[in-house]
């Protein structure tokens, strides 16, 4: 879809990123009737409608990016009706979010959470080297452990709540809930082997399942944190079709019972694209689209969140272009080409403008300083900078 105005073979990465951004902007203007922030409001910072006190932030990342071909395009629009028709018109759409880091899901999500391009092995069970957004938030604002949570796919993400940075780290980060691990633990009591397949959800490799470490809640904490019995949790899980549905169920339960000020949800169903089955990848996109709307609806309906919450939705990165012979199209994100590095972000709720498109480039590492500006902490080690259109 980008080749109409630009020869991808001779274009620079910057030109390709700008073309991607331009295409998304044009598409959203056409479909969702959105305008450019620079044209309407100028580049100045937009101040939040509410004070920082009491503000909350919910971040939703897709740990398995989706391409514009299957989302923000004429062909892809049918896969994201909620994002396109319900959510985008209510928020500010950043059409050019560039990720200059390693394109592996754990390391990339950790980079999003620290505001630094982390360089550790994507498949290693390690904490990020730099302080996470949760540590900044809790330390600077003196917030309790119950006020910052991560809900993530099982594999690898158990260490994402807190860093290895001296002065930060252990006990100062977020609580981590890995819903599939909880479910596997609940179901495996007595029949452990039968449910091993639940843990094998890292589509980048079929083998990774690190040992449990980090500030992850375990089975016997379900009742105290989520206010749901293990049997009810298990029974409800058995009605759901995907791990991401389980994650959102847990998120909603957490929002109702604990109401954390900083909640980070990483969805992962889309990454089934690594299996090479295009129809399953599309199903993952449609499900993520529906779940994003579900999360927004929950924010709008819960008194603790309504009108004081900023929702930030972004893929960790994209996927390979059909045109790069080094990859295999949607299946992977191995080439590091500009298309796989250029993604988007939707910000809606408190402190954001409606029906707005920002097409200047921002970086993935700008997310943490932006949340810092929203909530009032200093992401001092981050490589990024606050995005004024949100913060």
């Amino acid at each position: 879809m980008y080749s109409a105005g630009l020869d991808l073979r001779s274009a620079t990465p910057r030109q390709i990123s700008e073309a991607v951004s331009s295409t998304r902007r044009t598409f959203l203007r056409t479909v969702a009737g959105m305008g450019a922030a620079t044209a309407v409001f100028g580049p100045g910072p937009l101040r939040a409608a509410t004070t920082r006190k009491g503000r909350k932030t919910v971040v939703v990342t897709f740990g398995g990016g989706a391409r514009d071909d299957e989302t923000f395009s004429q062909d892809g629009a049918e896969n994201i009706p909620h994002l396109l028709n319900e959510l985008a018109p209510q928020g500010t759409f950043f059409s050019q979010v560039v990720n200059r880091g390693i394109l592996g899901h754990y390391v990339a999500t950790a980079s999003l959470a620290t505001g630094v391009y982390e360089t550790f092995n994507n498949f290693a069970a390690v904490s990020p080297d730099n302080p996470t957004v949760f540590e900044y938030f809790r330390r600077d604002l003196n917030r309790p452990a119950t006020d910052a949570w991560v809900i993530a796919p099982s594999n690898g993400f158990n260490r994402i709540g807190e860093s290895a940075k001296r002065g930060y780290g252990q006990g100062l980060g977020a609580g981590v809930i890995l819903p599939k691990r909880l479910l596997a633990a609940a179901l495996s009591q007595g029949t452990h082997a039968q449910y091993q397949h639940l843990l094998r959800d890292n589509y980048e490799t079929p083998l990774y399942a690190p040992s449990l470490e980090g500030r992850e809640i375990n089975l016997d904490q379900i009742a105290s944190v989520l206010r749901v019995s293990v049997s009810d949790f298990t029974a409800h899980a058995q009605t759901l079709t995907s791990p991401d549905e389980l994650s959102v169920y847990v998120a909603k339960q957490l929002m109702r019972q604990v109401a954390p000020s900083l909640l980070w949800i990483t969805l992962h169903d889309i990454d089934i694209a690594h299996s090479g089955a295009f129809s399953l990848y599309l199903e993952g996109i449609r499900r993520s689209d529906r779940l994003c709307a579900d999360i927004w609806k929950t924010i709008q309906s819960e008194p603790e969140y309504k009108d004081k919450t900023t929702l930030l939705i972004l893929p960790d990165f994209g996927r390979d272009s059909d045109m790069d012979s080094g990859g295999n199209g949607f299946q992977h994100h191995r080439t590091g080409d500009p298309l796989s590095r250029t993604t988007w972000m939707l910000a809606l709720g408190s402190g954001t403008r409606q029906k707005t498109i920002v097409d200047r480039p921002v970086e993935s590492v700008d997310l943490v300083p932006t949340i810092g500006a929203l909530l009032g902490f200093d992401a001092r080690f981050s490589q990024g900078k606050p995005i004024p259109e949100v913060a």
Binding site: R100, I102, L103, T119, Y195, I272, G276, D322, N328, Q331
Partner: protein, 401 residues
């Protein structure tokens, strides 16, 4: 070790043809930077199991490098020489395990943010070596045929959406003889233009019996025992908690006989089959992925004159609730989902077909099996055109073949 220290003895562990080639070209290899030479050796070490087109390409690279003067040689490889490496990488046994080195190098390039510079250097290198000598004229145009939708009564999607701008869409096709017509066209071309690995039949299900003389044939069903053996090894590795890097190394070192493939009849094709299962992602589980990846690799590596790919229904991906209810149940098939996969797979096959020499003259057909829809792409077929006139599959094949 650095390349300058290479001696002929270093290649004693290589298969015969690979050893001969590496030894003959050792003076060139010694002049190459470390960030480059293991990547070339990764191709050389499996030279004995390369397709003719791949061998020609490796030979062309060496010939080109040998004819460059010293300044040209250094200039071509300078971007690789500028890549910053580590002592740990230098210490690896990159001669005997070039794939392992490549894996480590890739991680290093990402971590040090040199991946873009490396990719640019590689693209430039490939372009220059490819341009150094023109491809030999083809004996005939290339033909690709993809058959999709087996087992589907009625498509729930608009088919060929990505291909329609490039070819003529037929909506009233008659296909009385069905897939047999396609196989006859394949056989005819194999007889008319005999050449090793120039004509291929890839089936995502059970292959239709045919006279396979001169045709390389690969199928998902025929590899069922090998897939099962590989999955058993994956299970063992998973239970041993060895981690993905060790498993990848194990996969890279795997021999056909390790998963029950016999290399005696055709060692080159057997190695190709092994690579489909050990290098492809999802090829062990989904037949649609297998068919698409096999077609991609056959085109990329063997550069065939004729390629026929037939998709079959893959197993249905079960929801979490179903998995919980029935952990070991026999999977059902998903014909509609498979059609979506195959429709996209046909587009990817066409893209890969277009990447080969002679693309402007090549011809391509996608047919919704046992239905009236097809799209044909090639000279004389109007891009974006639509014909609703009743026409036989044989007539379309005659028109493009």
């Amino acid at each position: 070790m650095l390349p300058a220290a290479l001696a002929p003895d270093a290649f004693k562990g290589y298969p015969p043809e690979a050893r001969r080639l590496a030894t003959e070209r050792i003076e060139l290899l010694k002049r190459m930077p470390l960030a480059f030479v293991p990547l070339l050796l990764r191709e050389v070490i499996v030279y004995d199991w390369k397709f003719p087109a791949e061998r020609r390409d490796i030979d062309r690279q060496f010939d080109y490098l040998a004819h460059l003067d010293s300044a040209g040689f250094d200039s071509l490889l300078a971007p690789f020489a500028r890549i910053r490496l580590t002592a740990a990488l230098e210490a690896l046994d990159w001669v005997n395990s070039p794939a392992g080195f490549s894996e480590q190098l890739t991680a290093h390039l990402w971590a040090t943010r040199q991946i873009d510079a490396f990719t640019a250097a590689a693209v430039d290198y490939v372009a220059k070596t490819a341009a150094s000598s023109p491809d030999a004229a083809l004996p005939t145009y290339r033909l690709g045929i993809v058959v999709i939708g087996q087992g589907v009564d009625r498509s729930q999607i608009a088919l060929f959406r990505k291909l329609r701008p490039h070819g003529m869409y037929f909506s009233s096709l008659r296909a009385a003889s069905g897939f047999q017509t396609v196989l006859e066209a394949l056989n005819r071309r194999a007889r008319q233009h005999p050449s090793p690995y120039a004509h291929w039949y890839i089936d995502g299900g059970r292959p239709t019996l045919m006279n396979s003389a001169g045709i390389a044939s690969v199928s998902y069903a025929d590899l069922t025992p090998a897939r099962a053996a590989l999955q058993a090894k994956m299970q063992q590795t998973y239970e041993a908690w060895n981690g993905p890097e060790i498993f990848r190394t194990q996969l890279a070192r795997m021999k056909p006989e390790d998963i029950g493939l016999s290399p005696e009849h055709d060692p080159v094709l057997t190695r190709f089959q092994l690579s489909l299962l050990t290098e492809g992602s999802g090829t062990q589980v989904f037949s649609t992925t297998f068919a698409q990846w096999a077609a991609r690799e056959a085109l990329r590596r063997a550069q065939p004159l004729t390629l026929v790919v037939r998709y079959a229904p893959r197993q249905r991906d079960r929801g979490m609730n179903e998995l919980l209810a029935e952990a070991h149940g026999k999977p059902e098939l998903d014909p509609q989902g498979s059609l979506v996969d195959a429709d996209m797979g046909a587009y990817y096959t066409w893209l890969n077909h277009q990447r080969l020499s002679g693309a402007s003259k090549s011809k391509f057909l996608v047919w919704f099996e046992d239905h009236a829809e097809a799209i044909a792409i090639g000279p004389g077929l109007t891009p974006g055109g639509h014909s609703s006139d009743p026409v036989g599959l044989t007539e379309i094949l005659d028109r493009i073949v």
